[in-house]
């Protein structure tokens, strides 16, 4: 089997990302490990969004809601675990990552189902606005909830645990996040190759025609939206554990925008688009942010250039138009 150009580039990207922390340790600059971990987490969040945005063509401007919910689930469970106070319904908190992720999946699944069920009845600009509205509702709820920090956010005193691994060690935590990213990418590629994935993409290209072959677009989109929120939610839980802090800023509309920007930079609908986008974004933020406080201005210029001259994003530029890889 010969590797397509895109597959090759994908392999290079993931190897590059995986190599960063080891090089960082080698040159005695462990800070770069945190940077690579941030890339892996943002990429995972964007993989989730890519499911609806890239495959389904649905521009959700509210995915920060899931990202933030994931963060708060991690924060709240950890807070209760350390204080020993019972959570609602007498349930105990937990400082175990697998438990936190499971709870995140359940909560984000329920929220995603609810937001999706309402939002997907609209389309186009209305869909963008209604997803934004839902995430802003959750944002203001977090801001005005004093029990869990309100506007100040919620600190996680000790990073949550992962069985058999010392998650406090930066490189171990990076590997956990990289593992989750790879799992997310695997899930995305499975979905894309499935009949469900084909129908989701077909619905993006021609919703009327999909109905005419006997598939109702709504439940397919709803399933995709829910799944997408769940993936982004887990990334949020990881992000809160990375910073040991969950804050309302994770739910702000800036975050939703950032996720969309990541995908557009990397390549919409492509398996590794989010990875390429997150790498570009974090590296820009770091390199340009060191030079000027107004680094976002330059990011804007780059985004403009991508939209005008490289519609397929970085991957489109490198691997050509064909989508499969």
């Amino acid at each position: 089997m010969t590797l397509s150009r895109e597959t090759l580039i994908n392999l290079i990207l993931i190897v590059l990302l995986a190599a960063v922390p080891f090089v960082a340790l080698g040159i005695g600059q462990p800070f770069y490990i945190t940077l690579a971990t941030r890339i892996a987490i943002l990429a995972l969040a964007a993989v989730g969004l890519n499911l609806v945005l890239g495959l389904g063509g649905l521009v959700s401007f509210g995915h920060a809601a899931f990202f933030g919910i994931g963060g708060y689930v991690a924060g709240i469970l950890a807070a209760h675990a350390s204080s020993g106070e019972a959570l609602m319904f007498g349930l105990a908190g937990s400082d175990q990552m697998p438990v936190i992720w499971l709870v995140t999946l359940i909560v984000c699944g329920i929220v995603g189902l609810a937001i999706g069920a309402v939002s997907l009845r609209t389309s186009g600009v209305y869909f963008i606005m209604i997803t934004l509205a839902f995430s802003q509702m959750i944002y203001y709820f977090a801001v005005s909830w004093p029990a869990y920090g309100g506007e100040d956010g919620l600190s996680i005193l000790v990073r949550n645990r992962f069985p058999g691994v010392n998650s406090m060690k930066p490189i171990s935590y990076f590997l956990i996040c990289l593992g989750m990213l790879i799992a997310g990418l695997g899930l995305f590629s499975l979905i894309r190759a499935s009949r469900f994935g084909a129908a989701l993409q077909a619905a993006r290209q021609n919703a009327v025609r999909v109905a005419a072959v006997g598939i109702s677009p709504y439940p397919i989109r709803l399933a995709a939206f829910t799944l997408s929120g769940m993936i982004t939610g887990v990334a949020g839980a990881l992000y809160a554990d990375l910073n040991r802090f969950a804050s309302p800023s994770m739910i702000s509309w800036h975050m939703s925008g950032e996720l969309i920007v990541l995908i557009v930079l990397g390549g919409t609908g492509r398996l590794f688009g989010p990875v390429a986008g997150a790498m570009l974004y974090v590296v820009f933020e770091f390199a340009l942010g060191g030079l000027t406080e107004r680094w976002q201005f330059f990011l804007g210029l780059i985004l403009l250039a991508v939209v005008l001259f490289a519609r397929g994003g970085l991957l489109g530029l490198l691997a050509g138009k064909a989508r499969h890889g």
Binding site: A198, Q205, V208, V213, P217
Partner: protein
């Protein structure tokens, strides 16, 4: 009777496109829906599939009332539509186009590939990179993958090269031999009439003549189909 359309009326906004269309297709029958441009052939098909919901009359498939059902529900009840202009999903591969529509039954990927070997050769290509004829094969294949009881072909060979037309007609004849019920719209009478068991002619949104192809003489052709 498989498809039973009676006194069908349909509108685009305020303007009435169908006034009174009667049309039937029995099990295993090939019916040609004929008429000049703008007489209501496509609208009739859209109304049957509920893509343009009819405002009067009745549409029944094997006795089941289709009116008021969503288009995807109509498709699941057994109507496979090959729309005018083909409308494949451009950014899916040939195989994805077929698989997306698949429902279990006698028609499988293998059987579609046997009917149209070209599709097998092109399985990993994006539909947008196919020629018009190949896209038509794909659109027919996609409709067959839903395992329909009735296949509807709107402008089956319009805009295709003569060689490709022959392939499409050959496929339609094969489907007829297999016993599939087909409602077909096309303008090439020399090919259409030998395949059809019956013809229904529309004029100004009304069905004005139904009969066997042999009865469709020169006078009738000039009156209803001539340009």
């Amino acid at each position: 009777m498989l498809l039973e359309v009676a006194s069908l009326k349909a509108f685009y906004g305020a303007s009435q496109a169908l006034f009174n269309v009667d049309l039937t297709v029995s099990e295993g029958e090939v019916v040609a829906l004929m008429g000049r441009n703008g007489m209501g052939k496509t609208t009739t098909i859209r109304a049957v599939c509920n893509l343009t919901p009819p405002r009067g009359g009745s549409v029944r498939l094997a006795g089941t009332d289709l009116r008021g059902r969503r288009p995807h529900h109509v498709a699941r009840l057994g109507i496979g539509l090959v729309p005018e202009g083909r409308r494949c999903f451009p950014n899916l591969t040939v195989e994805e186009n077929l698989v997306a529509a698949a429902r279990s039954g006698a028609w499988t990927l293998e059987r579609v590939n046997t009917l149209f070997p070209r599709l097998k050769e092109r399985r990993d290509q994006m539909a947008l990179s196919l020629s018009g004829g190949e896209q038509q094969m794909l659109a027919i294949g996609r409709a067959l993958m839903t395992n329909p009881r009735l296949l509807i072909l709107d402008e089956a060979t319009e805009g295709l090269a003569p060689v490709i037309r022959q392939d499409i007609w050959a496929a339609i004849r094969t489907l007829k031999q297999d016993g599939l019920s087909i409602l077909v719209v096309d303008k090439t009478l020399p090919e259409l009439l030998p395949v059809a068991d019956r013809c229904t002619i529309l004029e100004n949104g009304r069905s004005v003549w139904t009969g066997r192809p042999a009865e469709l003489d020169k006078t009738l052709q000039d009156r209803f189909l001539g340009i």
